[in-house]
């Protein structure tokens, strides 16, 4: 049983996704329970795999008993185990958060929604655990297809936004596939570890430069790196709140993970990789500033958070591109932190929309009294986004700045600090609207109730995430020393 853990991480949500819509037709409560149990199973399996990987080295699972490099192999090292655990936990929390939404939908719609959600989780987990370049493409498309369907499940506007995302997302996936094709033509292998070994013998060539360019551009679009971010704000604006909460927290991070995996574990041994990284670092620095500035320009809180995500993805990419140990630690810690705090912000903002029907800044007036617990979670996560100690955001930025200094890249260190100030501008504006502005006296009879907190099922996930922001900040040393410093080292080096 225990040797099958790596494959179970993917199989459990996949099988559950098949059965959930059928069970939902009979009893909705069982379908919800099955979804939650499947996600708990994922958390348990990836937790077990992570502890094993940390104690005894990476786990390998050969599908169908075909030895690599011919067969597909699943690899669970500290990096993929940690990512799988993060995906599982956020998914389980979002599954709890979705409950009130599911109750307001018809049974068939709710069943299909849960099924698509599980398929999205399957695809993301597959990207994380696979050790095969083509298999990564397949899982990338599984997660994208499920993501398109989920994003389009909102109002009619969401269909148009999703179609745009589908076109851009397919360009991204096709670029990645072409890059893999060039790598295959060069090395004759698709297994990540095998390609890395064979590339070190081949060295620099024109085809390799093409391959790396296609892969980096493709995965950067998937991760919504500025200026390839165009699809993201619209896609986020019209989708249901739980969907954006999950997708913003996890899906773009998995794109960053895939890029990290391919750049540092597969293409690392070569010279051309470092040139691409230099280019990527400048793009990422521009992304940080442009994302923050665009976020300041928004009056719709959801779009503001979406642009802030673009800026935060820039942090992660800049960390990856700088490539010093501290910068990589900071980038991975920021993957974790940003998933938690942006998930918290989107879920809490979704809660405000659940009560008021809107996402505009005006809708947040008076919320500090009407929904004090939800707003407190927003404040906590916002402080972490700005990067004030002792919240989690401070520490990942600390490592990133330290990494920039290690690389003697003073400009980038300045970019990190300037962006914190910009973050402060738009998050303090949100806090000001929620806490200090007085609601206008309502002319109509239907004035909103004075105190109206969210249902427990929505409040609990928000607060679990908000508490994690604080705990991750306080115990960041143990996360970095216990997991992340093992995650940044390719196997055998």
């Amino acid at each position: 049983m225990s040797q099958h853990v790596p494959v179970l991480i993917v199989i459990i949500p996949l099988v559950a996704a098949l059965f959930v819509p059928l069970i939902a037709l009979r009893t909705m409560a069982w379908a919800r329970a099955l979804t939650f149990l499947a996600l708990l199973g994922v958390v348990a399996c990836s937790g077990a795999a992570l502890t094993r990987a940390l104690a005894t080295g990476p786990l390998h699972y050969e599908l169908g008993g075909w030895a690599p490099p011919w067969g597909i192999v699943y690899v669970l090292d500290p990096l993929s185990g940690g990512m799988a655990l993060l995906i599982g936990i956020v998914a389980a929390l979002v599954a709890v958060y979705t409950q009130p939404y599911l109750k307001s939908w018809s049974t068939s719609r709710a069943g299909i929604f849960l099924s698509l959600f599980l398929l999205l989780v399957t695809g993301l987990l597959g990207i994380v655990v696979t050790g095969d370049l083509f298999n990564l493409y397949v899982f990338l498309e599984i997660s994208s297809l499920a993501g398109y369907a989920l994003l389009a499940s909102g109002s009619i506007h969401s269909a148009v936004a999703t179609f745009r995302y589908l076109i851009v997302g397919t360009i991204a996936a096709t670029f990645y596939l072409l890059g893999v094709g060039y790598l295959y033509a060069l090395t004759g292998s698709l297994n990540m570890a095998d390609v890395a070994i064979r590339l070190s013998d081949i060295g620099h060539s024109g085809a390799f430069a093409v391959a790396i360019t296609f892969i980096v551009v493709g995965l950067s679009i998937k991760a919504a790196l500025f200026p390839l971010h165009g699809w993201l704000p619209d896609a986020y604006t019209y989708a249901p709140a739980p969907v954006i909460g999950f997708i913003s927290a996890v899906m773009a991070k998995v794109g960053a993970y895939a890029l990290f995996r391919v750049l540092y574990f597969v293409l690392r041994p070569t010279e051309a990789a470092s040139q691409v990284l230099t280019g990527l670092s400048w793009v990422a620095a521009i992304a940080i500033l442009a994302g923050s500035l665009l976020a300041i320009a928004q009056r719709d809180v959801r779009r503001m958070l979406a642009y802030s995500s673009i800026s935060q993805m820039g942090y992660i990419f800049l960390g990856l591109a700088l490539g010093t140990p501290s910068a990589l630690k900071g980038a991975l810690l920021h993957v974790l932190n940003h998933a938690i705090m942006k998930g918290c912000l989107f879920l809490a903002a979704g809660g405000v929309q659940w009560r008021t029907g809107g996402y505009r800044l005006e809708d947040f007036i008076g919320m500090s009294r009407r929904m004090p617990l939800t707003m407190a979670a927003i404040v906590l996560a916002a402080i972490s986004m700005i990067g004030l100690p002792p919240t989690a955001g401070f520490f990942s930025k600390w490592y990133l700045v330290q990494g920039a200094i290690e690389a003697h890249a003073w400009v980038f260190a300045a970019v990190f600090i300037a962006s914190s100030l910009l973050n402060a501008v738009y998050f303090f504006r949100l806090i000001e609207w929620a806490y200090l502005r007085q609601p206008k006296p309502q002319p109509s009879l239907s004035s909103p109730p004075l105190y109206q907190e969210l249902p427990m099922q929505m409040l609990l996930p928000i607060w679990v995430l908000a508490t994690s922001v604080l705990l991750l900040g306080l115990f960041n040393q143990s996360v970095v020393n216990g997991i992340i410093q093992y995650a940044i080292q390719p196997e055998g080096s």
Binding site: A149, I156, A159, T170, L177, L178
Partner: protein, 121 residues
């Protein structure tokens, strides 16, 4: 030069198809045409992979009695990969068409300019 070009002709063709597809996806204003351009681009990648598998004088990768040397058979792996890529392409097209039907039923148009006008109403 002539034979070298002819030997590379399918790579040239796949590069041209890729650019045509990209151009269509980005520049066409009709959503159905965008989708068709997307399929053209996917075909370009399929052609690229299949060309990689080709060996001069190679036959279909089914074992024939007495022939054991590798060069007698073309490489089956890219074909298997592209079978998967075709499935992915078909599913993507299916999801896209479903979205387009929903958009068309509500707005009555698939022209991007008219669509943007209606969305602002």
């Amino acid at each position: 030069m002539g034979s070298e070009f002819l030997g590379m002709v399918n790579y040239w063709l796949s590069a041209i198809l890729l650019l045509l597809g990209l151009h269509g996806m980005l520049m066409r204003r009709n959503l159905i045409k965008k989708l068709m351009a997307m399929n053209v681009m996917q075909v370009a990648v399929i052609m690229f992979f299949i060309s990689l598998a080709m060996k001069t004088g190679g036959t279909a990768p089914i074992e024939q009695p007495g022939i054991t040397e590798v060069d007698a058979y073309i490489n089956p792996l890219p074909h298997a990969l592209m079978l998967t890529a075709i499935v992915v392409g078909v599913s993507t097209t299916g999801v896209a068409l479903a979205l387009l039907i929903r958009i068309y039923r509500y707005y009555g148009t698939l022209e991007e300019s008219e669509l943007l006008e209606r969305m602002q109403e």
